[in-house]
Structures are given as C-alpha cells and as structure tokens.
C-alpha cells in the first residue's frame, strides 16, 4: 500500500524530506514524543533508519531526516526524481516500510512516463528504428541512460526477467504458507510449508510422514478467514499407506477446530456451522494411487494439465517419491536422469501454479566413512533438486523435525507429536499415552 509519492524538490534533496500530514497515520506511532525512528527498505533490500519529526503545534509539518541525506547521496537523487513510500505487511502481519526511487527517463530529450508496457516500449523502439539513423542515437541515449540508472534497471524498459527486489516482493506478498497444525514446527518453518517451493520430508517408517502428508492435504483447505489458502490438494500415494479412515479422522478434528475458531471469533455461527463437514474436506483431496514408476512419471507429466483444469489445487503431496524407484533399476544413470527430470517438472509446477510440492521420502542406511548412517534414499543427485528438506527423527520418546536444508530458513529442530487428531504440538509435559 503506497503511503505517498513525491517528486523531490530542492529542499528535499538538500535538507530533509517533507511529506503530507495525512500520511502520518500510516507511519509508526509517535506516542508522546515528536520524533520516531523507523526502518525503511530500499529496492536493493538495504535498510535505512529514517527519523520522522513533527511539530507539536497546530500544523505538524512532518519531515524525514537522519539517514535521509545519506540515502539521497547514495542513490544519487536529484530534483524531479520521484520517490514512493509504501507500507507492506509480512506474513505474520508485521508492518514494514519500503521506499522506491524512480528517475525520469529521457528519450529523445523528452521525459517518458516509465509506466510503459512491453508493447508500448516495442512501439517506441519501432518508431525509433523506422527513423533509421535515429535508432543509433536512441540506442546511444538509452545506453547512456541505462548507465546512469544502473541502480534501477527495472525502470529502464520493462523486461521479462525479474530482479531480486521483485522476487523479494513476490516472496513477501505471494509466498503463502500451509500450516502443519503444530505451532512449534510452524515456527521453525516460518509459518508452515511454503507455496511455490518443493519441500522434501523424510524419516524412518512410522515417524509420521504419511500423517504429516494427510494433515497438509487437509490444512491447505483452511478458509482464508482463518489465515489459510482455501485450496485443494492432490495426494499421490505410491505405497498404499493412505488410509481413508485416518484421513477422515484428521479431517473431522480439523472441522472441529475450525468451528471452535469461528466461535472464538464470534462469527455468525449459523452461517459457519454446517458449512464444512469432514466429508467435504475429503472431497477436496484428489487422490491418486500409483503402482509403478511409469505410472508415477506419467502422472507427474499429466499434473500440469490436471491443475490447469483444477486451479484451486494448492498442494501436491507425493507419498513416497522413492518407493517405485527402488525396485531394482539396472541402469542407475537412467534412474538419475528420470528422477532429475521429474524433480525439474515438480519445481516448475510449484513455481508456475503457485502451489506447494511436498515429497515424502524414505530413508536408507548408507555406508559412509566407515560407518552406517541414515540418509535419504534416491541418492545425492536427487537431493540437489529439492529446495527445502526436513528430516523427521526420534529423539528419545519424542518425534522431532529438523530443517536440514533451506535457502532462507535457519536450520532448527522442533518437537511434534502424532495424535489421534493429527499432527500437533508435542505435549511432553502431559506425557504421551502409555505404550506398554
């Protein structure tokens, strides 16, 4: 949400930035003082500490100082440049501020509005090229301009590729997460399993991989007023471990939780109750049972088409990705190739369709450096394909999840437990049900 945009004046460049009083409410609270410091992020992701000062008298006349002059010199700002202040929210609802700079581009000596589309840009270039000799000149100018604007290539001419800021912005605004129903696990995952990415989850038999898979297939349906995606799930079962009755159990617990939540929010009870039922939740899971690796590959090739028909699919779960690839492949290089191709397809699918891909994997013992160690099956080449990797393991009598690999999360471990209602926080204080 943009707070204000302003063409910079001489005072703004030389001294401090003044801005409209009405924008004050979007800035951090002043409390009783007349100045407040806050952080603002620029396009490059750099943080600047700006101080907003007001007068206590009738007209506050807010101005921004502190790092502002540093910002001006670093960004080489000049009179007539436009800055845009905006306020965004991250996934947990914390506000942060962003500043963008737009410099006017001069084409043939005329200021060109920078908000031109690709088509318009092409049009301009076509016109330019039709003028023959002008083309070279315009190119020269453009290059010159580009050099001047190297800080902000995006504004030069709309291009197809994304810069890091776009990616970051997209991450902030679009990268939604699917809760695991275990608060501790969500914590270390930054809110849950992220969309647009491939997450691999592995562990010994009986650790709860399938349980987590079913839980995610249910949780992805969480309506938006509960902070969910309201999407559907594709569950690909290669092992036959998906049990309808268990899915129903988890779905019913989920429905109970949702209605509990509604009651808590004093939502219109009549409207919410009876809206979702356990069987509706199951209805929103597209379930595929796969019996050979050829079927698996065929299905993954078909997924894109399937998802284009079912656009509300927000998660694809494969339980497990390894099973059919461990049945005596003679030609290992062929296997590596097939797996690599499959992984690429899944990565692409996650990105294009803005959905989460969760691959459950088995673990195997491998002989490494003189001892037997647990590792994920399907080998090293495969492990490079997944963006995130979570290991589930036993720690004493408690189940733990450990983030083994992630480009943006710290590696951390969190306990969780598998209850009759599904995946939940580990309740070490109220002892697991006795086993003996």
């Amino acid at each position: 949400m943009a707070i204000f945009s302003k063409l910079l004046t001489k005072t703004d460049i030389k001294k401090r930035l003044s801005f409209p009083t009405r924008c004050l409410e979007s800035l951090p609270c002043f409390g009783r003082g007349h100045a407040v410091d806050f952080h603002v992020m620029d396009e490059c992701g750099q943080l600047w500490t700006f101080r907003c000062t007001i007068r206590k008298k009738k007209n506050p006349k807010p101005v921004i100082s502190k790092d502002w002059s540093k910002f001006v010199s670093r960004k080489n700002l000049d009179v007539g440049d436009m800055i845009t202040f905006s306020k965004l929210e991250n996934i947990v609802g914390c506000a942060f501020y962003k500043i963008e700079v737009k410099k006017p581009v001069k084409l043939f000596g005329v200021n060109v509005d920078l908000e031109i589309s690709d088509g318009e840009a092409l049009e301009i270039l076509k016109v330019a090229s039709s003028h023959g000799s002008l083309m070279d000149r315009s190119n020269a100018i453009l290059q010159q301009e580009q050099q001047q604007q190297s800080l902000n290539p995006k504004d030069w001419i709309a291009v197809d590729s994304q810069n890091a800021w776009d990616l970051l912005h997209e991450e902030r605004s679009l990268m939604t997460r699917i809760t695991t129903s275990c608060a501790d696990l969500d914590d270390i995952l930054g809110g849950g399993i992220s969309c647009k990415q491939v997450t691999e989850i592995g562990g010994v038999p009986g650790i709860g991989k399938t349980q987590l898979g079913i839980q995610l297939a249910v949780n992805v349906q969480m309506p938006s007023y509960c902070g969910g995606l309201g999407g559907k799930a594709i569950y690909i079962d290669t092992e036959g471990s998906f049990m309808g009755e268990r899915a129903q159990e988890i779905a019913e617990a989920y429905v109970e939780d949702i209605s509990e939540y509604n009651r808590f929010l004093h939502k219109d009870l009549q409207a919410c109750q009876g809206e979702i039922q356990g069987k509706d939740v199951l209805q929103n899971i597209y379930f595929f049972r796969i019996c050979s690796y050829t079927e698996q590959i065929a299905l993954i090739n078909y997924l894109e088409e399937f998802i284009s028909d079912h656009k509300d699919v927000k998660i694809v779960i494969i339980d497990s990705v390894a099973f059919h690839f461990r049945q005596g492949f003679e030609d290992m290089s062929l296997r590596t190739r097939i797996l690599g191709e499959m992984a690429l397809k899944l990565v692409k699918l996650a990105k294009m369709c803005n959905l989460a891909v969760v691959l459950l994997n088995q673990v195997t013992t491998r002989y490494m450096e003189g001892s037997f160690q647990l590792s994920f099956s399907l080998g090293d080449n495969w492990s490079r394909c997944c963006t995130n990797r979570i290991i589930l393991y036993w720690n004493g009598n408690e189940r733990y999840a450990y983030i083994d690999k992630s480009p943006y999360l710290r590696s951390a471990a969190a306990p969780y437990s598998v209850t009759s209602r599904g995946i939940r926080n580990s309740a070490s204080h109220c002892k697991r049900s006795k086993l003996v």
Binding site: V204, G206, Q283, F287, T365
Partner: protein, 305 residues
Amino acid sequence: MSQIQSDPSSLRPAFMTPQKLLPDEKCSLGCPILDCCMGGGIPCNSITEIVAESGSGKTQFCLQLSLRAQLPPFLGGLSASSLYLYTEFPFPTRRLHQLSSALQSQYPQIFVNNYDPCDGVFLQSVNTADQLLDIMPQVESFLENSKTRLPVRVIVIDSMAALFRAEFDNTASDLIRRSSLFFKISGKLKEFAKRFNLAVLVTNQVMDVVDSGEGANETRIGNLNGMYSSGRRISPALGLSWANCVNSRLFLSKDEYESGSVGGGESGFQSRQTRRRLHVVFAPHLPGLSCEFVIRREGVLGVNR
C-alpha cells in the same frame, strides 16, 4: 495393453477422493479385543507385517486370518479365499484343521453341507526370494481368473525372513541386491493388493540386538523404543529397507513368568506361564496400542487384563 494403446486418453490417471476409500475394508481376526487394537482387523489394500520371535504366534495369526476371510462381511470376513505362501516346513496342516473345525462348529449356518473352511485356503511353498518373484505372474493369473468358490482376497507369506536368510552375504553388493528384491516383491504385492483389494499379511523374524557398548546404535523404528521379547532386546530381521516396504508393522512379544507354585508348592512344581502381547509398531491408521493375547485351541484370542 492393446486396449490402452488404442485409446490414449485412457492412459490418463484417474483420481478419486478419499471418500471412495471409505470404509476401509478389514478382515477381522474374530476377537473384538484384537480387532480393537488393530482398528478392526487386517486392512485390505495394504501390507501388514507381523514381527516376532519363533513360537510367539505369528503362524497362528496367519492361519486364523486365512480361515476367517471366508466368513461373510457381517461376521467380519471378506467372503474370500486366501492364498498361503509358506517358506518353513512343515506346513502346520494339523493346526489348520483344528482351527478349521473350530470355526466350522462356531458358524454351522455358514459352513453348510460339510464344507470345510480348509478348502478355501490355497497353499504354495516358496523356498527362495527369487522363486517368490518368479511365481508372481502365476499368482496374478490365479487372482485374475480364480475358479475358486470365493475370490482370493488374502495373501499370506509366512515367513518373509526365511526367504532371505540363506543366500545373502553381508557384503555391499548382496545387500543392494537384497533390498532391491524387497522393493520388487513389495511393489508387486502392493500392486495386487490394490488391483484385487487384497489383505496382505507377511511375517518376519527377529534378531537379537548385540549391544556393542555404543548404546543406541540401531535406528529406532516405530512406536516402541526397543523391542523386548523373552527378556531379550530384539530387532526385526531384514532391516530398514524392508521396513520401508510394509504399510503396517505389528509386533508380538512374549514373556515367561512364574505364576506361583501349584499344589502345595514345596516340591517345586513351578507353573510357568507365557504372557503374550500384540503391539502396533507403526501403522498409518493406528495409534501405538497394544493388547495381551492368548493362544487357545480355538485360535488366537485377546485378553482384557
């Protein structure tokens, strides 16, 4: 195959919703306490493994299941015959007959005209893992066009471990060959389980855990933190790869205890009793329950204690 080739759109995998999977079909073992522990019985469309040391009652469970499957669904069965692949000799024919006549007398209205429940159990001996894989096509055609009175919907393999005991060394190449066989066998079984909606029950033996002094060296699998039977620490044979191949694992433990002396006691007639328990090690649909059971003439029965 020709059908698929003629119509490429049929290649498109069909999805279903989990609703279709409900209710999961189970084959009851005929005892409510045991069934309760196993969520209703041995599930169809899934591989269930029973792990136990010898003499714990693995075979008893297998025999009981293969007979009980013939009961109609309202009595907990599947109205189905079973295929029993045995690897250890001799096959306990006498015990099967004993259980069969017990079942017959329990449900005379089902087994009319002197029908012997044994007739619904098809036996096949298997000696090696390769042989098991080799007879899979035969098994498939047997399942497909069974001329049996009831369709075959139960496959029992007793025991899996015996197939692998002899011919594999502890070398890397043999271990790789072995685990690839596991996955082939399990893949085939799961395919059958899905196509014919079979309940597959396999048994597995145990090994003693040799404490190498390094403490918790082995990988914990499932709900039990260490399996104990007859006072010894044990672990399932065939290792982690095989554990990946089954859907559920049950563990039978037994412990002998002295229940006090009988008849005066000064002569030292100590009565020793065996306490047996069934544990759910892991299962996608079950919590880690356990229950005690006894083996009687009529079969395996759960005990509430």
